[in-house]
Each structure stands twice: as C-alpha cells, then as structure tokens.
Amino acid sequence: MSAPERLSPFGPEFTPGRHGASGGSPVTLAERKVDIVQVMAGRGGDAAAASAVGSVLPGPGKAEIAGSSMTVWIQPSGWLVIRPRAEEGALARTLASAAGDSVAVVDQGHGRSVLRLSGPKAGDALAKGSRVDLHARAFPPGSAATTSIDHMTVTIVKVDASTFDLVLPGNFSEAFVDWLRMAAAEFGYEIGRPA
C-alpha cells in the first residue's frame, strides 16, 4: 500500500504564478520536495555520523552541498541532512541503522519544509528581515545560518550567488511565505512548481 500524496505545508494559496511588480527580474519561490533528517552526534559520535551520512560534515556556519543534496550545520555535532524526496522515512531509517547508538537520528520530513528562493533580487528580499549579513563577502555560497525572521526561526543556506534554500518550521511555512510575499512584492515574484 502506498502512502497518500503529501499535502504542502505552504498551504492552498501557494500556487504557481506571477505576482507583485511586473517586469524586471522576479524572485522565484518554490517548495523543494525533499527528505529532511536531523542528525545529532553524542560525545565522540561525530565520526559515526560522518560515515553514516557519507560525506564531510560541515563545521559551524557551513553547508556541504552536492547537487540537490545538502548537509547543513545547525549546532555543535548537529546537522540537517537534506536529500531529494524518496520513500517515506527511508532516509532516516538508513541513517539511523548506519550511525548506531552514539547518534540520534530524527526524521523532520513533517516537521520542517524547504523553500528555494532564487533570482538576482532573492538576497535583497530576504535581507529585509534577516539579522544575518547576507552580502556575498560575508555569506558566500556554502554558508548556513540559523536566525529569526519575522519571529520565525529559519535556517538560511546560500546555494549559489543568487539562490537560497530556507529550512522552515513546517507549521510556519505559510506564515513565512506571507512575509516573503511582502518582501518580494517590489521586485515581483513567481511561485514555481514544487521540485
């Protein structure tokens, strides 16, 4: 039996289309269809976590990005592993059995969401609410920061010069997009298809 189609945490109004100012270069917002797993290593468990994840675990303020997968530092010995969506719960099960008892693995697939924000004005829109300096010098691709935007805790990952992935608390995804719509309205924005 297959699981029912998952509902988007971004709500029924987050439908593809163009909004806000016309012309120029719109900011693009799109839900990423991903699995999200939180990996927390206990004392001395970092090596086991790294071998389970299968890549270098980034240090503070960094994300390790490979194509559409990424591992994001969120706290000392704590990371989010984000991979293209596959079978429900499979990623967490695989990581948990590979990592063993010194590592806590928690599926965040229903607890968090990932929004991709892209376009030349993406950083300008995000900067309106970010306490973290997003200038290219201070926050180059591969940077990650957890901060508070409009009272919501958001993990910002800089993917490339004009692309950010935002890891949001699932239940706040709709509220966050309400804020982001206002921030992006002056540039115009396009809601893309989930990918």
Binding site: P60, G61, Q75, P76, R131, A145, T146, T147, S148
Partner: protein, 91 residues
C-alpha cells in the same frame, strides 16, 4: 540591543537569545540544608558592574552561553561556551 558574539555562530542580535539569569550560582551539596537551598534557588546579587550570566542562543545554535556583561555600560567582556571558565574584569 546587545550584540552577542556566539562562539559558534559569530556576532548576533540579542533578539535571537533568551536570558537565563546568574551563571555564577552553584548548586549546594545534597546535605547542605534548607537554608543553603533557599539561597541557591532565590537569592541573587544585583551588582553594579560586571556580571556573569546565561544566555541561550535559542533562535540560532541552541547552545547555552556564559556572557560577562557590565550592568551599567552593557559592555560585553567575554562570551564563552557553557562548560568553559570565564574571567571577570576587575574594574
């Protein structure tokens, strides 16, 4: 607005943190008696000057930090990880 230099995240605004009170109090031994536990739970100094206090980087790395802050000037002399020792300036 304080700017707190988190040892993990770098300089962040106070709004990302939650205040956690005096970081210098020590839990007395179990047999220390009611008076010692009363002082431990309720009595706090209110110094004019340097103070060592807990701040929780709740909207960041979620770590508890020790901050050495001057209660008059709001200068911050040091921010340390929870388990690290801090030194308090003399003046």
């Amino acid at each position: 607005m304080l700017r707190i230099n988190c040892p993990f995240c770098g300089i962040r605004d106070e709004a990302e943190f939650k205040f956690g009170g005096d970081a210098s109090v020590k839990r007395p031994p179990a047999d220390a008696g009611a008076e010692a536990f009363y002082l431990y739970a309720y009595e706090r100094d209110n110094p004019k000057g340097w103070y060592v206090e807990w701040w929780h980087h709740v909207a960041g790395c979620r770590q508890w930090l020790k901050v050495v802050r001057h209660t008059v000037t709001h200068d911050i002399a040091q921010v340390a990880k929870a388990g690290d020792a801090v030194s308090v300036p003399q003046s």
